[in-house]
Symmetry: C2
Subunit: 517 residues, 2 copies
């Protein structure tokens, strides 16, 4: 109670003229020890989600800068295997509930994703930048006792896939669903294909027939499909959980298709949007209006067949507001979704940097006819050069040379209308300027954490707000509240044999330790 | 002498009906200990190179399958700084020699690269596959005593760069050369920019003026340019040496522009074509006719401004011929340059899979008007699916799903006419099937190496043919003949506390240890 009170006092201050963006929220030069962000919980149910729309709308939650939200994100592909992905999970059952007479999520469209939110951020205004740190991501256990301990995901070779109609075998326009199985508790770090089936025309509760996958949330009648359980038998797919779609609301339209990504984020489908990563979005509507959904358990750059391993996930995110008059050089005039992690900056380019503005009134339809990697590459190249000039204070000639000799450009996706190319900038190029190391002890003690050091085992523990992170020097395997986790980077010993970590590491784990359980 | 004699006997056998492709050359069930591949040396001089052409031609060297070649590869950008990249280096001076009355490499074109070779491979015929293992790559020290211990490289923001004409600052069509400096001995593992200058019209010894970079090997008159020594001051570019251009000769044309890559390899410009990697090329002319050049010290995926850090390198490669009737599933019907390393298979796609065939008579000109990442992505996607079906024995549906949930597609380059997209397939997905571990001792002893084990330091040494590789268990830092090298993977201890490595590791280091110094 005491903490919450103090937090409220601080929050009130922060919203006014004293607002301190970013990590300063907790590092600010006032009663530091007592200031902790509030932790909110946003459960999966029909009240808390919208289906296919990431536009403006009534917030389901309002947070202050620095707050943490535990957010359930549910896959829109759960209907591909009702038994394993919906049954017995009250929240998911509520979202998918659809009978002849009732449909809880009646308004599905124009996109497909189940988006939790929107979350309003107190004081956010157009021109600000919203930072979202992904502190944790966990598979959501399925609710059917018959499959206890497992989480399932669906990969669909869909009609919007890159090779649809160009397969070698007939029918070349087939749609194929592959169900993958994972250990909910992370006991194994891979997914295995369980079975696959070819999509057959499915009749929804309203009596409409779907010969192809053209509407989200249709529950597949498994008496109409043939399950092939002999699929990818000896193959293990590494689980790398990420949010396919995370977005602020754009200003250009009220109802916004969740499928094409754009300057506001959305369905970027970059597997790097994972635990340990931070996203920065340009705010263009009051409150920012953050929506989170489309969780994935595994995807390659390109998302070739139209989908990832689509599964359900619960994540912890910290939401930080950067006011427009206090933006640093990297965030000033940010006009695209920018990713940061321990080692990299990732710039996201698209066929159209802002398709809503560039393509006019019918933008949301036309974008699907204008997909092009050539355009996305051009967009990514220009944005990366501008980012290096602005953020790293290089001349244009320096930036252009450096990009050519170091920056890896990759194909983010070729299936979401507004195709994506991303550019990966290695922080190490810039030495201390981009990845400065800092003493572990003083950095964490500064905000009130307690450090314990066990010299025999070389084990460091950081205790804060009832949470404990323990790790051995030099190792990435660690424990968070007793549970095995992977650190974003190992704790290092410097020349003076003193433990040190990056500033990014401090910010990240400070946030993770700040969660109130 | 003894070894050479035995080798000749074996070579004679191998060329006939007993030819044993691949590693079997040295693992064959005959006098294994004595069979060692021959090591050839191909020095940089005007006799051993062609400028801009990777087509058919008279071989400068003929090798047997299994032979190792130490090959000098010289950058065509050496003229960007004569003092640091040509002067005092007899071989490079010979290649670049051009006065009013003399030009040693008169025939420069249609491409730009200085290609060492061609190397003919005894017994190679159309339909075979040529494997090239890159055993070692080292920077070539510059020959000017004034700059002893350094190697220089040139990065050029060129007229064929991706953002040429679209720069923010005027003149938007400028060409800028940045000279990078490196430690020749690898004492540092990064390059630093030394200075840059804007290209000015250069007059060649024949009196022709080059207002733009339109002809290879023009030596820049530094009294006509303004050097800016305040460039990328605090930036360190990791050195990752690779061959930008490595190629067999295609059958479709006699003179072949070295710039556009294609099914035969060529100017792929993938930085993964580095020490530790293996390339596989479809042979389409008798003798295969391998050319090697265009060495790079650093390049990002896309090679955005038109060039990498273009420098000179000496490499060791092992050349292995796989006869068409004994190809395994991965190499059967190979129709593109395929890369393998310890952890990955990399498929290379292009705007046109075989532009020479697809675009007809004027293909070598037309390809530059038909560059497209969209086409390259399609080509890479089809090739990757076919490779997974053929090589990993998956069904089409399995392959397509697996690609979507795991395979990363990246932009290889957007500056070489036939633009490239590559796909990275992680061997670990397939467990033992693609990355099987094998006991270190017996695997190396099998071909006659001696293993020494120092239990206190956990140091393993492998001795063969006068070469010694020493490494600690679990570490990638190692010593090869006393020189520090980085292993392609650490030696591991298995559950029985016995040292083990991958089969790829064994093949690679067996070849590296087989070099005769």
């Amino acid at each position: 109670m005491g903490n919450r009170l103090k937090w409220k006092v601080f929050a009130a201050l922060s919203i006014g003229s004293l607002l301190i963006p970013g990590v300063n929220v907790v590092n600010a030069d006032i009663d530091q020890v007592s200031i902790k962000p509030k932790t909110h919980v946003l459960k999966a149910n029909s009240e808390n989600v919208r289906w296919g729309n990431i536009g403006k709308g009534e917030a389901v939650l309002t947070v202050n800068s620095g707050d943490i939200v535990t957010v359930d994100a549910i896959t829109h592909h759960s209907g591909d295997d009702y038994e394993r992905m919906i049954k017995g999970d009250a929240g998911v059952e509520d979202i998918f509930h659809w009978t002849e007479s009732e449909k809880t999520e009646a308004d599905r469209g124009p996109g497909v994703h189940i988006m939790t939110g929107p979350i309003a951020v107190e004081g956010a205004e157009p021109g600000d930048v919203l930072e979202v740190k992904i502190l944790d991501m966990k598979l959501r256990p399925n609710g059917n006792g018959e499959y206890a301990g497992k989480t399932y995901g669906s990969n669909v070779a869909a009609n919007w896939g890159f090779l649809y109609g160009e397969m070698e075998e007939e029918p070349v326009t087939r749609e194929v669903v592959t169900i993958y199985e994972m250990d909910s508790e992370g006991g194994t770090d891979y997914a295995k294909a369980l079975y696959s089936y070819r999509w057959t025309p499915q009749t929804d509760p309203d009596g409409n027939v779907h010969p192809t996958i053209d509407y989200p949330g249709v529950v597949v009648d498994h008496t109409t499909v043939e399950e092939n359980h002999n699929v990818l038998k000896d193959v293990r797919v590494p689980v790398r959980l990420h949010f396919g779609t995370m977005s602020v609301a754009p200003k250009e339209a009220d109802i916004v298709d969740s499928v094409p990504p754009s300057y506001y984020g959305g369905n970027i489908d970059d597997w790097r949007v994972t635990e340990g990563a931070t996203m920065y979005y340009p705010v263009s509507v009051p409150g920012a209006l953050l929506s989170i959904g489309d969780p994935h358990a595994g995807q390659g750059d390109s998302e070739l067949n139209g989908t990832a391993i689509e599964t359900s996930v619960t994540g912890d995110v910290q939401i930080i507001l950067h006011k427009k008059d206090k933006l640093d050089n990297k965030l000033k005039s940010l006009n695209f979704p920018l990713l940061e992690n321990e080692n990299e900056w990732v710039v996201h380019g698209f066929s159209y940097a802002n398709h809503l503005e560039e393509l006019g009134e019918d933008a949301q339809k036309e974008i699907f006819d204008k997909s092009s990697l050539d355009k996305a590459m051009k967009d990514a190249a220009h944005k990366t050069k501008a980012f290096l000039i602005r953020g790293m204070e290089l001349t244009e000639d320096e930036a252009y040379s450096l990009m050519s000799v170091t920056t890896d450009f990759g194909v983010t996706q070729v299936v979401d209308g507004n195709w994506g190319v991303h550019a990966i900038i290695d922080k190490k190029l810039f030495g201390d300027a981009e990845r400065s190391m800092t003493p572990l002890r003083s950095s964490f003690e500064q905000f009130g954490a307690k450090i314990e050091w066990e010299p025999n085992t070389k084990m460091v523990s950081i205790l804060y707000n009832g949470n404990t992170l323990s790790a051995k020097i030099g190792e990435t395997k660690a424990a968070f509240n007793g549970e095995t986790v992977r650190l974003i980077a190992p704790i290092q010993l410097n020349a003076q044999k003193s433990a040190e970590v990056s500033e990014y590491f401090v910010d990240f784990y400070q946030a993770k330790l700040s969660k109130t359980n």
